[in-house]
């Protein structure tokens, strides 16, 4: 799963990208110009980092490189020595249908990963119950994903991918299909899970309020090849209250950061 030499030095971080080069080679018109060139980023364990950028900036690509789905042409993706199993690092796709099994009901979808990862019966049942309640899926136990609304599907994808307590989760646009009230519920659910299960979260979004809802640190990327335009730390408590001076200040900082990136 690693590109480049295996861990040469112990990595105190959760994830580190070092001098990554990446581009999509297209068959239509040759190499599409380098997307990532000598790009570096470091994610500290236990943090909640938001990767922000305009649509098409390359955020999903970055998420996939971090997850090991895409292999960079150059550079090292270093992962914490804590990550011993493939299930420790999860990438949750933007399209929730890619994160669920359509042939299983909602309940089976949440149960299957836990069964396959050898969670014992009582512990498994408790975890399923907890997740179904947290993500408000209990009433939908016997429904198939094709019958779910976009928001319900997104909640299912999230609850499924987080069920086995992965150590690092990369969420690509997790709130895109959710409205304000549901979003607030899911945000607090995610925060609760992150704290309880000591997860490191990487959120990818282009929505400012999504970034402000959960993140402790925000990395704004833009330009080709991709560069980090700003790297902001938040000092807001949780839950985030809109229309407070601190919140507005951070919101403005973010908006400025994005605007600089577009220029």
């Amino acid at each position: 799963m690693m590109s480049g030499p295996a861990l040469s030095s112990p990595c105190p971080c959760a994830l580190e990208l070092e001098d990554i080069d990446f581009s999509y080679a297209t068959r239509f018109n040759g190499i599409n110009g380098a997307l990532y060139k000598d790009f570096s980023l470091r994610i500290e364990p236990g943090s909640i980092v938001t990767i922000m950028g305009a649509s098409g900036a390359g955020k999903s690509t970055l998420g996939r490189i971090m997850a090991g789905i895409l292999i960079p042409q150059k550079g090292i993706v270093r992962r914490s020595p804590d990550f011993t199993r493939p299930s420790d690092l999860v990438y949750v796709d933007q399209h929730p249908m890619n994160g669920v099994f359509p042939w299983q009901t909602v309940l089976e979808n949440v149960r299957y990963p836990l069964e396959k990862l050898n969670w014992e019966g009582p512990r498994r049942r408790d975890r399923i119950c907890y997740l179904m309640t947290l993500f408000r899926l209990s009433a939908l136990s016997d429904v198939y994903p094709a019958q779910l609304s976009g928001g319900e599907l997104q909640r299912l994808a999230l609850s499924r991918c987080l069920s086995w307590k992965p150590k690092l989760v990369i969420l690509d646009e997790p709130f895109s299909a959710l409205d304000g009230k549901v979003k607030a519920e899911i945000t607090s659910a995610l925060h609760e899970l992150a704290l309880k299960d000591r997860m490191t979260l990487v959120l990818i979004t282009h929505n400012v309020s999504d970034a402000l809802a959960l993140g402790m640190r925000c990395v704004i990327i833009a330009r080709r090849p991709v560069q980090v335009m700003s790297d902001l730390d938040f000092h807001l408590g949780f839950p985030r209250e809109e229309n407070t001076p601190d919140y507005d200040a951070m919101q403005q900082a973010l908006i400025n950061g994005i605007r600089d990136g577009l220029v």
Binding site: I69, R85, P86, S87, V90, Y91, D93, H95, M97, N98, G99, V100, F101, P102, W103, Q104, Y112, P113, K116, L117, Y144, P145, A146, C161
Partner: protein
């Protein structure tokens, strides 16, 4: 009779065809030896049933089902494994497509030598192209599987067996059903043809059709042919029902559009 009402157009068309047949027969536009009247065919059926028809239907159906079971039991896992391990598939792809191109009917003498005279050779012959088509469809179904979902499945550290039967099987199921439909056509065709021209115990619908025709019992011949057709319709209906049940979770693409 709800299904009659719902498909009244289709039934009217069928009724219309029978009406044309009746008119042609009544007006004696065609020699009755060549085209018997529909009522004569209908009158012949009870006699056929009493004679041997039920046993014939059972034998033909049994052989067809045996061939389909062999095709699915061996073709689906083989196809899914090959679709999953594309490297292995590339190795066998050429010979596989070559085998598919040989008409199965031409191979029957070979099967007789290899497998021997008897039920096994009929079933083997019918199973041969059926297995190939189910396997090739399973391969393409597995190759077209949603890669993002396979990534999610791989995170769970599944062994190959679970990967293939819990995940790839369902991803490939629509393709596999297309293969099964085609396999039904092949099986019925080959079983009836072998029964007609080889014999092998004088049993089966193909044999019945041949014997009735060679003794110039034309209404019975037509009756047996139509019943063979109905067997085909029945098998297709069963496959469709099975498909609707096993694929009930499939997102309706048309709705999304």
């Amino acid at each position: 009779m709800d299904w009659l009402r719902r498909n009244w157009r289709a039934w009217s068309f069928v009724g219309g065809l029978i009406a044309v047949w009746a008119i042609v027969a009544a007006l004696r536009l065609v020699d009755p030896i060549v085209l018997p009247a529909p009522w004569n065919v209908a009158r012949a059926v009870p006699g056929m049933l009493r004679e041997r028809l039920l046993a014939d239907i059972a034998w033909t159906l049994g052989r067809v089902l045996a061939a389909l079971v062999v095709a699915c039991v061996f073709g689906i896992p083989a196809g899914l494994f090959l679709g999953y391990r594309q490297r292995a598939y590339k190795v066998v792809e050429g010979p596989l497509h070559a085998l598919r191109s040989v008409p199965a009917s031409a191979l029957f003498p070979l099967f007789l030598i290899l497998v021997g005279v008897g039920e096994t050779s009929i079933v083997a012959l019918a199973a041969y192209p059926s297995l190939l088509v189910v396997m090739v469809n399973a391969v393409s179904g597995a190759a077209l599987a949603n890669q993002n979902r396979l990534y999610q499945a791989r995170l769970l550290n599944l062994n190959s067996l679970h990967m293939v039967f819990d995940v790839l099987f369902y991803e490939a199921l629509p393709s596999i059903f297309d293969g099964i439909r085609t396999a039904v056509s092949y099986s019925l065709l080959l079983v009836v043809a072998v029964e007609m021209f080889i014999g092998l115990g004088e049993r089966g619908l193909g044999r019945a059709i041949y014997l009735y025709q060679s003794s110039y019992r034309i209404p019975e011949t037509y009756g047996a042919i139509m019943i063979a057709g109905m067997i085909g319709i029945l098998l297709n209906w069963v496959v469709t029902k099975l498909q609707h049940h096993m694929l009930r979770w499939l997102p309706n693409v048309r709705e999304e559009q």
